[in-house]
Symmetry: C2
Subunit: 439 residues, 2 copies
């Protein structure tokens, strides 16, 4: 056995202690616990690529907005469940200025993190028609979205969209929708973990078919503005964030603040719903809700019962932030370039040591540098590779847990790999490569 930064026996002991059978199929949370524990035992750091934790500072203007609201006493009174009216207006302005779409303030709702918005969206869209209780996931994707469907009791179907980009997408989607069992289509754009980005032509296909088949589209914008090949940072000016909302009437947009605004801790996100869908009545919702209009059921049914609204002061924090961003006083995109630069450097290091990218093309272009990338090593499955990297002090999750068909790979997140870790990563990858010579 060759010497590694973390001894194989230590890794085995900790895996046993934490009851992790196979790191390759373990959850992100389990990998995190394992890595925490290994760092503590060995007294040295891991290069941590497992968690999609944002690593930048939150905007000062948002913090000041929260502090002012606290000082003014908002902690005493229940927040409006549908959101503070001024915040709703500012969200509506945000999607107009950065997405070039029109969503009335009433249909713009702050949620307790994007997951709460997605939960409410799954509940409403999955229950609006008892014969359309299936969710179609355009994979690979965020594993928690699949947990949502299971928790709510919805059926699931999926395909790996990497093989169906561009002109191939329409036929594939039709084949999945023809059964008329699907009530909801879900995807993330940019994609977690593959970082492929659906373009306007593909989104037009999704939107047109959603209207044709009367299916709701939930567009997860967890990485809003982070396809850095197009700079969307100027309010009201093209280019805009690509979105299906331009192409259909049946959309819900879940816009996270965690990465785009480095505001993950405060659990606030935005849900924007097409006015048409928001006000549409679905008799089958009456099985679970007092009201049958989708928007009312979603807000006064699900959101009331799961949270009764977003932390009052945090709504004012986001309000202050959006005012600054919408008026052009705060460029929220530039600080995020740090992620792009890390991805570029990390990919170079992996490629120089025998690894290759799994999802390497975005249609005809090379995959962009962003928050995630996907890598593999010749002769190893993704699950083996996750395990084999642990003694070298490098943690990641296997693509197998994301609905990907590319089981040879793993997902690397750049957010916790700060510039000062790059040299460590270079050394460890070189050692790994030396210990695993390629033919």
């Amino acid at each position: 056995m060759k010497d590694t930064p973390f001894s194989r026996s230590l890794v085995h002991r900790e895996l046993s202690a934490l009851h992790i059978q196979d790191p390759g199929t373990a959850s992100i949370r389990d990998i995190r616990r394992l890595t925490d524990s290994l760092e503590q035992r060995a007294g040295k750091p891991f290069v941590r690529m497992e968690m999609g934790i944002p690593g930048l500072s939150p905007p000062e203007v948002a913090l000041q907005g929260e502090i002012t609201a606290l000082t003014e006493g908002v902690a005493a009174s229940y927040p409006p469940i549908a959101g503070v009216p001024r915040l709703k207006t500012e969200i509506s302005r945000f999607v107009r200025l950065f997405m070039d779409i029109s969503v009335p303030a009433e249909c713009c709702v702050p949620t307790v993190g994007s997951i709460n918005g997605c939960y409410a969206a799954f509940m409403a869209a999955g229950r609006r028609d008892r014969d359309r209780a299936a969710v179609l996931f355009m994979d690979p994707g965020f594993p928690v979205h699949k947990q949502l469907a299971r928790l709510i009791g919805l059926d699931q179907t999926s395909f790996d969209m990497y093989g169906f980009r561009g002109a191939k997408l329409e036929d594939k989607l039709r084949s999945m929708l023809d059964s008329r069992r699907v009530g909801l289509i879900v995807y993330s754009n940019p994609n977690n973990p593959a970082w492929i980005c659906l373009n306007e032509q593909e989104l037009a296909v999704v939107g047109r078919l959603a209207d044709d088949y009367d299916v709701v589209v939930l567009e997860d914008l967890a990485y809003f503005g982070m396809d850095f090949r197009r700079d969307i940072s100027v309010p009201g000016e093209a280019p805009f964030q690509p979105t299906v909302a331009r192409y259909c009437d049946n959309y819900m947009l879940a816009i996270s603040t965690s990465k785009a605004f480095s505001y993950a801790g405060q659990r606030i996100a935005m849900l924007a719903i097409s006015a048409n869908l928001f006000h549409r009545s679905f008799p089958d919702l009456g099985r679970f809700y007092d009201r049958t209009e989708l928007g009312a059921a979603l807000v006064y049914g699900t959101m009331y019962a799961t949270t009764a609204g977003v932390t009052h002061s945090t709504q004012y924090g986001l309000l202050a932030l959006l005012q600054a961003v919408n008026s052009g006083k705060l460029d929220f995109i530039s600080p995020l370039h740090a992620y792009r630069d890390r991805a570029k450097r990390m990919k170079e290091l992996f490629l120089a040591n025998g690894f290759h990218l799994v999802y390497d093309r975005d249609l005809t272009e090379p995959i962009a540098d962003g928050f995630y990338f996907t890598i593999a090593y010749p002769g190893m499955s993704g699950t083996e590779l996750v395990s084999e990297l642990l003694p070298y002090g490098i943690s990641a999750i296997s693509l197998a847990t994301t609905g990907s068909e590319r089981t040879e790979g793993l997902r690397a997140c750049v957010s916790l790999v700060h510039p000062e870790h790059m040299e460590l990563l270079a050394q460890r990858l070189a050692l790994f490569h030396a210990h695993h010579p390629l033919p």
Copy 2:
């Protein structure tokens, strides 16, 4: 038609405009919209008794705790889903010092308002056994709890406990549990809206039967410490908050901060679960969750998917507050006496004008003065009374919406009736009484 502070024609117009068929069966939210609108049109205030909105200032120590945490940067990073470890420890200490029970920190979880804790509790307790998917409500109760059961798809059963106090409780409960279909018992103590308070003997019966029948008890402590007849304000000293937790192993306690700590705006509450129940495995949970231990399913299943944790800074706000309360530096009970004093004065005014209390006895004692009371007027049903009080500028909700069998009454909440409103209430009640002479 006699002159009233708000003309009957105005009231009718606004009811039509808001599509409210009958104020007597309308939701609290609808009554609130109606009252807002009437106040605005007529340019004078209502005496608002419909909303259970706390009306006191939030504790400074909590606000400072939040502000410090924001300044230190917690907004950037995801909060632990199960709660900040120090907060969990302090919640455990709180239930020991004020309830005299022992719940390990691991089993003490902050939630996004008490409703999020109840949602997670209903999901876990209602799904742990496919043959026990019914919730037994000890009514009257909080209408939103019934919405929870419907939303999750659980069966419901209930009884009005006012007729089954003391020695009568055991037989009644047995008759409801004998079918073995009930998986969860839910009640609020003190009770919303009747303000009856189950005593230790009654709680012992509930607890013993819960263990005998293997049913989970969810004790809603929305009005923690607010039975002012027993002063629980000294940490670690009797008397303590009465609780079923002393009498069974199958409990979950939902402790709101909205009223007890005047912290409704920030959406944080505490869920304390018996260690035995938390760690118990229920195979039927595997239908919806990766893990079958109730605590893990509740936290890493439902809470992860509905919110992914409580606003990070707010967890530090509650931490600072609990540290002050647990160490005896902050008496959180005294400020709440304002509610008691208002209830006393308001009841006097109602009783002096022909009204009587509906739920008037708490076992052998008169009902205590607290956050709510219930009233009726001879010759009118509760729904008629709600409507008939509107022209007099007094708003409330009918008991019919709370699962009460006492359909003659309505619920009055004292929180928004400040001392300066008492004279107005006195005048309006006198006018109402003059217009509705009793035989």
